[in-house]
Amino acid sequence: MATVTFEAASSSAKLQGSSLWRDAWFRLRKNVLAIVGLCTFCFITAACLIGPFFTGYSYERTELSLKASPPLDKIIERTERRRNAGPKITHLALSSLENEFLNRPAPERKSIIREIGNRRIYIEGQNSFQVSHDRHWFGTDPLGRDLLTRVLIGGRISLTVGFAATLVSTIIGVFWGSVAGFVGGKVDSLMMRFADILYALPFTVIVILLMMLFGRNFLLLFVAIGAVEWLNMSRIVRGEIISLKQREFIEAAISLGLSNRRILVRHLIPNVMSSIIIFTTLTVPNVIMLESVLSFLGLGVQPPLSSWGVLIDEGARTMDTSIWLLAFPALAFSLTLFSLNFLGDGLRDALDPKASRD
């Protein structure tokens, strides 16, 4: 009999690590969409982190003659020979080359441009034209800056702000809401009235106040956005905690003699996790857009630095002439959001033990 018990014990020895998180990872791995989301998101993050070193362009160097050149347009190098100085090289987009030869009749102009496009060197007076080896994968912005580099650099800002601010707001919101909901009574009323007051203040006013208090600072952006976004989170968490608090397993936990803190941290908050995760995945895009509003007001990132929100905002203004300026930042932004949403859905299902194990 004793040996039987012993065997049972050793067969369940691996049980110790069988926590909610390990099971969750096991279930998440089986969710194809969530894994695709995770990989896409990791790819975008990695690209934003190391990509700017490899694009060959700087995000801030302007090339005014290039203007807004479309994606993968051929870049023409114009070399101007000068008497007293060395040759002057400027870059032009093949699509806007017509403006250089406006004095020629249209058919001739067309053939010259075709010639140049076919990698012939064309000389006209002081100037020689030649296809350069440079390519801008995403085209350039109206100041001739490489859009790919700017999207990647902007991604760094947007993702950092998005995650830092979401983290700040989630931590404050979960803490505030769960304490208010769990303690209840006067404490709850006081805490939630305080949240209501903050809620009533216009967002920009809070940010401007914070800026006045602490000076303009990139870190402040996280604090300012986090300080506003936690309000919704705290309400959601509070509501869920109040309804969970009445469940019998909480009474059971009390009658087992668990401390309040332990009940809150080990019983209540894990059961609110799915709402927290869903709301977090909704908060990230909100925060990224808020950052662009702040930047637009001159309170966020300053040019030449950029963020997705700012790029989209600029792109939307020139969308009738150069759609790529809107399309690429928007694509990067929405791809990130999609992958986060799939990942969030997958995490929610994975954290719910009721979801089937296979």
Partner: protein
Amino acid sequence: MSILDVENLSVSFPVRSPFLRRTVDFIEAVRDVTFSVQKGKTLGIVGESGSGKSTLGKAILNLVPISGGLVRFEKKIISQLPEREFRPFRRKIQMVFQDPFGSLNPRWSVWQIINEPLQLHFPQLRVAERRLRVIKLLEIVGLNSDMMRRFPHEFSGGQRQRVGIARALAVEPELIVCDEPVSALDVSVQAQIVNLLQDLQDALGLTYLFIGHDLAVVEHISHETVVMHQGRIVEAGEFIYQNPQEEYTRKLLASVPAVS
């Protein structure tokens, strides 16, 4: 020898006005209730729903505040103690709940559910020792030890109630308040759980306060029975089923549907 003495216990809940939440009235859920439970015996409490029997059980466990009277456990007054001072008694008095699903944390495996009280009340035990205890407890309540990994939703109602009983037994209590432990289960399973409770009483010398509305079940398990109505004790004794003295008890007995 009595293990639990309840003297003139009253519990009332404030009724608050919708505006300003001022207390305008009180609902007296338990009024002036007095009884005692003998060590190793079962005291049954019956009554229709709303008679205050569940509130009474929760008041004994300090889960709801009481408004008057005393509760003594092993001659020590335990009512109206602050939670910190009540905590030593949490090990001695446990509860089995009515809803076998709601009383188990849905995100926790059985191992986590039963391990938690062990961790809390026997901190000197190592993981391996706790694991052996969990296996033992599962065996005692008639569950298989490899069910440890499973989550509450993977069990039937009766099995869940067994997990609830194992959790209550984990701290080695002397008194268990059973708050309608079988009323959410179907009849065949009810009998199994009641028999399990009786076997455990014989083996471990437990004392039960068995709350129920099903007279047949309460009669079967109890040594003595208390009948409650509108928060008061109507009648108490060993032979209320055979020889009811009060009108309400007779009505309650007559309301049991009989198969003739």
